[in-house]
Symmetry: C2
Subunit: 398 residues, 2 copies
């Protein structure tokens, strides 16, 4: 029997999903599992999106290929949507992808060759690891810490990681998994370093709207003089609570990048047609639901932070955006604790599933005592889930 590839063997299992078998076992025993491990919101997808999809399914006769760069109406809708943030992007500078996932892997492949490097701030969205493996590029981590609220380290700490193979800096703002919203000064520092070393900046802005306490999001696209080195990666999954739609997009003003994306895009033909139709409706009606959704996440953020602060030995900063937080626990091995919660613990038939944070770091040994929490449930459920987490911590290792 022939062997699988080395890259296949080296591919990391998702830290978000790898404990799913334990969760399934718990559920078989009748235990209710609060899923704080994955960013799957319980918030209703705006009905205009489902309505547009139903309308399409009720009227069309053939479900055809779309253009490789996406439906023109969707590109226009996104161009108009970005104007609302004073970002001037033409429809032909928008490339529709099959979810944020494809946006990331296409962006990496468009600017980096096998063996090339990207600088990334750890902890980072764990699937960057998988995409880097697929694209055969190396992620070079710059570590941020829970004490600093995961804000960026000084300029020199970043510059010291740049080598001949560095092709770009990956920024995720607001940040998954940390919930950090970078200040304008921080984003500007990244842009300056990129300019100085002639690097691309790949900016994951999936959580653009998800900022709390009146914070403003700074898009890399607002640095217009550096537009050629900027690639924005985005997705409708969280903004429209439509994770299953698999619609994302890339913004670039660099003609070479756009032409390359089109060639990658032609190879895989097109993104899903029906779900693009839903996305058009979402962008056209975003003002009708977005602020309510953010207010709800801010309430959840408050509840989660409040409950976490009640647990002895737990440390985290108040999340500034997105709907995640990375929390340091008073345990040596957070993965063992996460498994314990699923295998060996429950209160009144309920337990809490979290993602061990070690998989969100590239530096070996980092994040062993941290977890990521996604606050994607209603406030009362979140409070209950965090209380159970606290009780689990008391029981763990006894």
């Amino acid at each position: 029997m022939p062997a699988i590839s080395r890259r296949g063997a080296a591919m990391p299992a998702s830290p978000i999903r790898k404990l799913v078998p334990y969760a399934n076992e718990a559920k078989k025993k009748g235990i209710h599992v609060y899923h704080l491990n994955i960013g799957q919101p319980d918030i209703a997808t705006p009905p205009v999106i489902f309505d547009a999809i139903a309308e399409y399914a009720n009227t069309e006769k053939v479900l055809p290929y779309g253009p490789s760069d996406g439906l023109p109406e969707l590109k226009e809708a996104i161009s108009d949507y970005l104007k609302g943030y004073n970002i001037d992007v033409a429809p032909d500078e928008v490339f529709i992808t099959t979810a944020g996932s494809e946006a990331i892997v296409f962006s990496m492949m468009a600017v980096a060759d096998p063996g090339d490097e990207f600088i990334v701030f750890e902890p980072f969205y764990t699937n960057y690891n998988g995409f880097a493996r697929m694209a055969d590029v190396k992620l070079v981590p710059v570590t941020t810490s829970v004490e600093e609220g995961f804000h960026l380290p000084p300029r020199e700490a970043i510059k010291s990681k740049i080598t001949e193979r560095t092709r770009g800096i990956i920024l995720c703002n607001p940040n998954n998994p940390t919930g950090t919203v970078y200040t304008r000064d921080e984003v500007e520092m990244v842009m300056e370093i990129a300019k100085e070393h002639d690097l691309f900046v790949l900016s994951d802005e999936v959580y653009r709207e998800f900022t709390f306490d009146g914070r403003k999001h700074t898009s890399v696209l607002s640095f217009v003089s550096e537009a050629d080195r900027v690639i924005v990666m985005d997705s409708i999954s969280k903004r429209f609570s439509a994770c299953g739609a698999r619609i994302g997009y890339i913004v670039s003003k660099n003609r070479g990048v756009l032409e390359t994306l089109l060639k990658f895009g032609q190879a895989r033909l097109c993104p899903p047609t029906i779900e693009q139709v839903g996305a058009i409706a979402g962008f056209r009606h975003i003002s009708e639901f977005m602020s309510d959704m953010i207010a709800e996440y801010e309430r959840r953020r408050d509840a989660v932070y409040e409950e976490l602060m009640k647990i002895p030995g737990v440390f985290t900063r108040k999340p500034e955006g997105a709907f995640y937080t990375v929390v340091r626990l008073p345990v040596e091995n957070a993965e063992e604790f996460a498994i314990f919660m699923l295998k060996d613990f429950n209160i009144d038939g309920k337990t809490t599933m979290v993602a061990p944070a070690n998989g969100f770091y590239a530096t070996e040994g980092k994040g062993q005592d941290e977890i990521r929490i996604a606050y994607v449930l209603e406030v009362e459920q979140l409070r209950d889930a965090i209380r159970i987490l606290g009780e689990g911590l008391k029981a763990f290792g006894k």
Copy 2:
């Protein structure tokens, strides 16, 4: 401004889509373009598929992530569907992908490392080139010819291409772009070579049902003793006339391959949810529409072949399956001719778009005088399109 990657620059433009700008120009001038360049059927998507999608959109509140390996109901439906071909595949041996495209690139990456090789019979589905570029693997072509109806060459011609880096043989059966249906003896020969050299066989069986004149399709899965080296790649695009759905799947009985696919799959989270719901309905109701669809394609095949045979200097064999044929034209440069048809030729305001076949070959210089035709229009339109092609040939180069 930083440069794009070498692999991006080296990525081939799709020969199926790269002439689209010429077609758009023709349309702007009011010319009707018969699209024989792309396998986008005009046949109605079975209404049960649209109904299932509309039902989902009308009843669900949240459009969530699905499992990374696809919805269990879809995996079961495919397992049952394959039983209809005496192929015994368990649901957990089915991995749902975002279209056949992802099935191909995941399969390549699962078994080959950068620099590894696959043997492929040329002309081949042109997007294999793009996927090989993305996966950083090399396609080693074994040439087949229009005179032989693109059937496989003798065993030694294939074996002579095997090197230390060869990881597998890619078979597309029934074949896109040639319309060839390989005999059981041919498939068996490929399986024997794979066994002898311990290679994988990656079999693209998207057109499984599309066989004419009573021919039977031979799946590599029917060679059960070699199941561990077999990977089947499939898609609903053509079978359900649902190209825009972007739902495909991989079948493997090799645990290592399945585990690797799951890791790739977890990185990109999941395939589109709603369109999987449509696919379930398609597989459950396939017996209600499939034979009518094949009969229609056989009528089209007859019409296209009959009209082609009327054109002086044109050579092709009668296609045996799928809905394509590769045709040798009495021209030196078929790409120039294809552009001429769009730019400089029409009859009564109509012209015909075809795909130059050179992009379907990996060997430099091959296929210069050939085109691929997709017979995806109604019979009378096809006859008109081929007649116009014949008139275009008379006018070309004068």
